[in-house]
């Protein structure tokens, strides 16, 4: 490289700035995160374009197609085979992505937004408010998440939005605790003291100085929580607490419905299982990549 080229390169390296563009630059160089983005990208597009991808109606099947045996494996006509009711498994998986995604996003949004509010209050104001909020989260965390979700579904009744609420509520204490801890650390930062010494009003200190510097672990947790939510929803479905309509192509419900055929047609359980694993893996890889990319210790490098 000539000197001019080296200089041009340096200029280019220095040009973009800011927390997010920095993080994005590092994320692009992380192969695991790229794989994660690819998996999630596929997952998202399948969910969005389900009606165009799925060859058949996922809800109604044709028992006559089974030909007396359960159940035909993958073939050219039915890529993932047929299930015990003669429904096309591929179509069910494709539509199932919609449910997982919808429930995942809604429940994480519930957990995240409520957790953000409680976490900021506890972290910034401290004192007795902090004690009360933290004891509540301790109580919630002492109950296993899935058990709590089962309890909430049992109390609210079965159904799609009940599942979202149940999974969302189990996520609240994690976000609350995470943000509180992060704010506690940031609150004592020198730049917060410096901002106070300049006379910046309290709410501005919280919104402009403390929150933006505390939020990155919460964002990382958000992507990881999406993965957990997908698993929790599948687990609820597996335990028979899935959506009310048994024909709903939800991955966890599909797993339960096929346990009886495990010996004769293992692919019926394997395929939704793989779908769950892949989508969860995708979100986990992105989450891990984000965690590295947003780590302030790596800032200004890469």
């Amino acid at each position: 490289m000539s000197v001019a080229q080296v200089e041009a390169r340096e200029v280019q390296l220095e040009a973009p700035s800011g927390l997010w563009s920095d993080a994005w630059r590092r994320l692009k160089h992380n192969p695991a995160a790229i794989v994660g983005f690819a998996l999630v990208g596929i997952f998202l597009s399948i969910a969005i374009f389900a009606p165009w991808i799925a060859p058949e109606d996922p809800r109604s099947g044709d028992l006559s197609r089974l030909g007396g045996a359960c159940c035909p494996g993958p073939s050219a006509d039915y890529w993932f085979g047929l299930d015990q009711q003669g429904r096309d498994v591929f179509s069910r998986i494709v539509y199932g992505a919609r449910y997982s995604l919808l429930i995942g996003i809604v429940s994480v949004s519930v957990g995240l937004s409520v957790g953000l509010v409680f976490g900021s209050i506890a972290g910034y104001f401290g004192g007795w408010i902090d004690s009360i909020i933290m004891r509540m989260t301790d109580i919630m965390l002492s109950v296993p998440g899935l058990l709590l979700a089962i309890g909430i579904v049992a109390a609210l009744g079965q159904g799609l939005w009940q599942i979202m609420v149940a999974v969302g509520v189990t996520q609240i204490p994690i976000f609350t605790r995470l943000l509180r801890g992060s704010i506690l650390a940031t609150r004592e930062a020198d730049y917060v003291l410096a901002a106070r010494s300049v006379g910046v009003p309290r709410r501005l200190i919280l919104s402009a100085h403390i929150l933006p510097n505390s939020i990155s672990p919460v964002i990382v947790q958000g992507t990881l929580a999406l993965a957990t939510a997908i698993i929790d929803v599948a687990a609820l479905g597996f335990l028979g607490l899935g959506p009310q309509d048994p024909a709903t192509p939800e991955w966890g419900t599909m797993l339960t419905d096929t346990t009886r055929y495990l010996q004769t047609a293992p692919h019926l359980a394997l395929i939704p299982g793989v779908a769950i694993v892949i989508s969860v893996l995708g979100f986990n890889l992105i989450g891990d990549g984000l965690r590295e990319a947003l780590d302030p210790r790596f800032r200004g490098r890469g």
Partner: protein, 338 residues
Amino acid sequence: MDRQALLSVEDLRVEFWTERGTIYAVNGVSFDIAAGETLGIVGESGCGKSVTSLAILGILSRAGRVVGGSATFEGRDLIGLSDDELRTIRGKDIAMIFQDPMTSLNPVLTIGRQIREALETHFGMDRKQANKRAGELLDRVGIPSANARLRDYPHQFSGGMRQRAMIAMALACEPKLIIADEPTTALDVTIQAQILNLLRELVRERDTALILITHDLGVVAGMCERVNVMYAGMFMETGSAVQVFARPRHPYTVGLLQSVPRLDAVRKTALNPIEGNPRDMLQPPQFCPFAPRCRYEVEASRQEVPPLEQIEPGHKVACFNPVPAEEWQRMKDAVVAR
């Protein structure tokens, strides 16, 4: 003091309530500072230097409480004021420069945004005006192509540039008093000199009062008219820079001066550190806090706290058995002279 005091601190006491017990951080400190004056507060780590300044501005951490004394600024006692009232003074009338420019700037906000903050808070400037003024300030503290660099983030600045940016923030509202808490400690020596020169110029330009808090005796000697030597939350010796450095009378001051390497020493003489550890601050001082480490202690030193008493005009020492006036000169000669 012939000039009228801008800030007058009287018997300031600060405690921290922690799980380990009460920490008596500042135990009755008094000083005056007038416009245009530069005052030094020297002492080792943890002696209460920084806490004093944070207490004056009312930005102690939660555990800290001012338990006594007053800090009168332009006729108003800052200690009793509410946070809202103090906020109108902080940054506008009294500004602070912090020790570590690496951590004292918010990493997610641009430099310009952080300088604008004070202007927008105190003068209600709109973004455009504030930006123009921020550019002028950055230019004034010696940052090249200042207007373009307003959009930079702190990590794109070097340590010296960040400290300049911090100074620009402190200067934003043209405060009457600047408190600089170890402004050069985190910087390398060549940058230190530049920053100190800049501070000196700026203070002279606008007749600003400057409180310089540091453990670096060299910095104090070069910058300050008056010096306070602090130990265990109390002033041990106060006086003009000449008095304190040429005729130190308190054993602690002498110890501090002795532990500084001298370039004019003839042979390689071993440094003379002060023996022992700084005082544990979990007890209020009941006798001279320096006595356990002191070579000059007398019986009274272990019985009561020595009062700060005048030994020559403008020169006060808190000691029952001050070091003889010629002692330091003799010690110095012993090292320098052949």
